[in-house]
């Protein structure tokens, strides 16, 4: 398994930095003589996609500007730079929708990039104007073009992609689904794509880091989760990490937290596989998606203990008791992928897992091992969908409890911040004139679309409320209906529908959704029978 690490947005970049640090001695002159390459554990490669040029250029020194010298490594890319200032596309989107696609750092709203992607995908006028940029969807094509060379789909060796994002920022998820759609549209339906998403902590601690207050962050997180988990041919697994738990473990130190995320991923990405146990990413993907028609949630549980004889039971116990990075009830998991580092017996790991989660059969536990260092044994368990107990939303420490709280906060934000969400003039809470000047002035068409997306029948608010009920009742999955911002307007239905009645051709999203609905229907029929 050789992954391409794609950090997106501020948080993604910082975590990706930990993964992509050069393990060789760095010397520019010596590298010229030895043809020295940037090497990382497990041969992983990666790139950082960012929306704020100032942050990328002046606030970090790790990633190089890909435009200056493409041979540099590792690189950062600012996808919206592909559209020149005042290009017809830039002007047209601004005039028709009110979005400034050249705005540095974008608008820090989760729905912003979703809207931009839909505009490029659906608006024939914009598509036509973008032709001279050699792409009908230039921003997202350019983002994929930055990743592709490292993958086996380009000339690289990475047989899978791991996106690292913060849920709640806006840039993160905005890029993931469009890139995945590109990968899938090339006919690589089984190219493995995973996402590691960090849910920001409760309270005000990360307000500054994320440029948003808690309610807005929670809405962003839920919108992101919603889009990631309902995309038919979307990602192959969303590895959920709760920043609150992560920071508790790292004593509130963000740098340590980033390092810890790299540490826990080592059993997954490091080199030195056991002979004959080098899993291609497709094998891991196949295991994760098998028997589940939606992108699954994967909760990581990690343990590292000092070398001892027969460490398997202790490792599993430690991982479940202290090492889960998102609240969950392991016994609700329907599968578990176990990545080990050290001298570990696969059968003993399976036994230890079954002792803890009796419902899992041998087929539902996959074990992959690597040789680690000599002092410690490590294990990373990815639990698939470890939720689904009725009433678990009332029990602190469960996935249902945490997400229910985030959803409650998101709904409260939707209800209490209509002017912000619809960009109604004067919506900025800030009293400063400069902030007021930064306010987005969208057109009526966009405002109506957003109104329907958030408040309409089958809109986001309604879907979140439904999802909360599903969590309360222990239903899996809790999100199941893809939503669009602009689709409904074309249909003229006045509701946040997801079918375009006037359009003769189905989009890939619509096709995937129909497939899923049929699968669900067949599933429920067979259950009833």
């Amino acid at each position: 398994m050789r992954l391409c690490i794609v950090g997106i947005g501020g948080t993604g970049g910082k975590v990706a930095q930990e993964f992509l640090g050069n393990e060789d001695l760095e010397s520019f002159k010596l590298s010229g003589l030895t043809c020295g390459e940037h090497i990382t554990s497990g041969g992983i490669k990666g790139v950082w996609l960012e929306s704020d040029e100032n942050d990328a250029k002046n606030k970090q020194k790790f990633f190089e500007d890909g435009r200056e010298n493409p041979d540099d490594y590792p690189l950062y890319f600012i996808p919206h730079n592909v559209v020149p200032d005042n290009h017809p596309v830039h002007v047209a989107i601004n005039e028709k929708y009110g979005y400034d696609i050249k705005k540095q750092g974008y608008v820090r709203d989760a729905q912003y990039l979703k809207a931009i992607f839909e505009i490029f995908e659906d608006d024939p006028v914009i598509k036509a104007k973008a032709q001279d940029l050699r792409s009908t969807n230039p921003i997202f094509d350019c983002a994929w073009a930055a990743v592709r060379p490292y993958t086996t789909m380009g000339k690289g060796k990475c047989d899978g992609v791991l996106f690292i994002i913060s849920l709640g920022g806006g840039t993160g998820t905005g890029f993931v689904n469009p890139i995945v759609q590109h990968i899938r549209s090339t006919g690589k339906g089984d190219y493995p794509v995973f996402v590691m998403g960090a849910l920001t902590e409760e309270g005000t601690a990360s307000d500054r880091e994320q440029y948003a207050k808690e309610g807005k962050r929670n809405l962003g997180a839920i919108s992101s989760l919603y889009d990631l988990l309902t995309k038919g041919e979307g990602v192959d697994g969303l590895i959920l990490v709760d920043n609150q738990i992560l920071l508790q473990r790292c004593e509130g130190d963000y740098t340590l937290a980033n390092r810890y995320l790299h540490q826990i991923a080592l059993p997954l990405v490091a080199a030195r596989d056991y002979p004959g146990e080098k899993p291609p990413s497709t094998a891991v993907r196949a295991f994760c998606v098998e028997g589940w028609s939606f992108p699954p949630i994967l909760v990581p549980c990690y343990a590292k203990i000092k070398r001892r004889s027969n460490p398997e039971a202790a490792l599993v116990e430690e991982a479940f008791s202290k090492g889960c990075l998102f609240g969950c009830q392991p016994e609700d998991a329907d599968k578990a992928a176990v990545f080990c580092r050290g001298y570990i017996d696969s059968n003993e790991i399976r036994k230890a897992m079954q002792a803890r989660i009796p419902r899992l059969t041998n087929d539902q536990i996959a074990v992959w091992r690597k040789l680690g260092d000599n002092r410690h044994d490590e294990v990373l368990i990815l639990l698939r969908n470890p939720y689904g107990s009725p009433g678990a939303h009332l029990k602190e420490g469960t996935l249902e409890w945490r997400l229910h709280r985030v959803m409650t906060s998101a709904v409260a934000y939707i209800e209490g911040h209509r002017p912000d969400l619809l960009y109604i003039k004067g919506y900025s809470e800030s009293s400063s004139d400069s902030k007021k000047k930064d306010e987005l002035t969208v057109t009526d068409e966009t405002r109506n679309a957003l109104d329907n997306y958030f408040y309409g029948e089958h809109g986001l608010k309604e879907e979140i409320l439904l999802a909360m009920r599903r969590l309360e009742e222990g239903e899996k999955p809790f999100f199941n209906r893809p939503l669009r911002i602009f689709g409904l307007l074309k249909a003229g239905s006045g509701s946040a529908a997801f079918f375009d009645d006037e359009c003769g051709e189905l989009t890939p999203a619509q096709r995937a959704m129909i497939q899923r609905m049929i699968q669900e229907e067949i599933k429920s029929m067979s259950l009833k029978a």
Binding site: G21, N22, E23, D24, L25, E26, S27, L30, S31, L33, T34, C35, G36, E37, I39, S41, G43, A271, R272, D273, Y274, P275, G276, K278, Y343, I344, D345, S346, L371, G372, D373, N374, R375
Partner: protein, 205 residues
């Protein structure tokens, strides 16, 4: 045996111990993997999976350090008759040794021997590839800081070589303190170079 001769024995013993420890480390990993797999795992199948690249810059520098180590040993023990009274360069080949390129040729000879060892190692069969000097550290987990510390052997060895050269040019005036300084620098370099192997042996028990 005088203390200077004993120091040579100590260096050779340390080198042999390093070799033994490396063999032990690889064998230990092999036997552990076989025990866990419950079947025989051929060494040629295990070694490629066990190996991870440490980077061209590090590899180049560490090989340079090994070459310098041999040169430093030769300069310390073979340029003056203090240790081997019959086997030193100036007595065996006086005209060449005294010429203006004498020391350079002597150093290049050490370099050539080490190159032969490295190239010869590449010819070893797959089941013995762990003894290829160019791959040696690929079987160990090394952080960047550890690599930096190991590479400190290069300046230490250069200082040792310069001191030995100075002693050869001023011989028979020989200061014991100068000789022992050159030896300690050589010893410290050797310790740095075999340290990851020793560490693995001690920690991997």
């Amino acid at each position: 045996m005088n203390p200077m001769q004993a120091s040579f024995v100590a260096i050779v013993l340390l080198l042999l111990l390093g070799c033994g420890a490396h063999l032990l480390n690889v064998r230990r990993i092999h036997s552990r993997v076989e025990r866990l797999e419950n079947k025989a795992v051929p060494m040629e199948k295990l070694l490629p999976d066990l190996y991870s690249c440490q980077g061209s810059n590090f590899n180049s520098l560490v090989l340079a350090a090994w070459i310098l180590l041999l040169a430093a040993m030769a300069f310390l023990y073979l340029l003056t008759p203090a240790v081997f009274s019959n086997g030193n360069y100036f007595m065996k080949l006086p005209s060449l040794a005294s010429s203006w390129v004498g020391l350079v040729i002597f150093g290049l000879l050490g370099y050539l021997i080490m190159i032969l060892v490295i190239v010869g190692g590449e010819k070893l069969p797959e089941s013995c590839r762990c003894f290829r000097l160019a791959e040696l550290y690929g079987y160990y987990t090394l952080s960047r800081n550890e690599k930096r510390v190991m590479i400190a052997a290069i300046p230490l060895l250069w200082i040792s070589i310069l001191i030995s050269t100075h002693m050869a040019t001023v011989y028979p005036e020989l200061w014991a303190a100068e000789w022992w300084t050159a030896f300690l620098l050589l010893l410290a370099s050797l310790v740095l170079l075999i340290w990851p192997v020793a560490k693995e042996m001690l920690e991997g028990r």
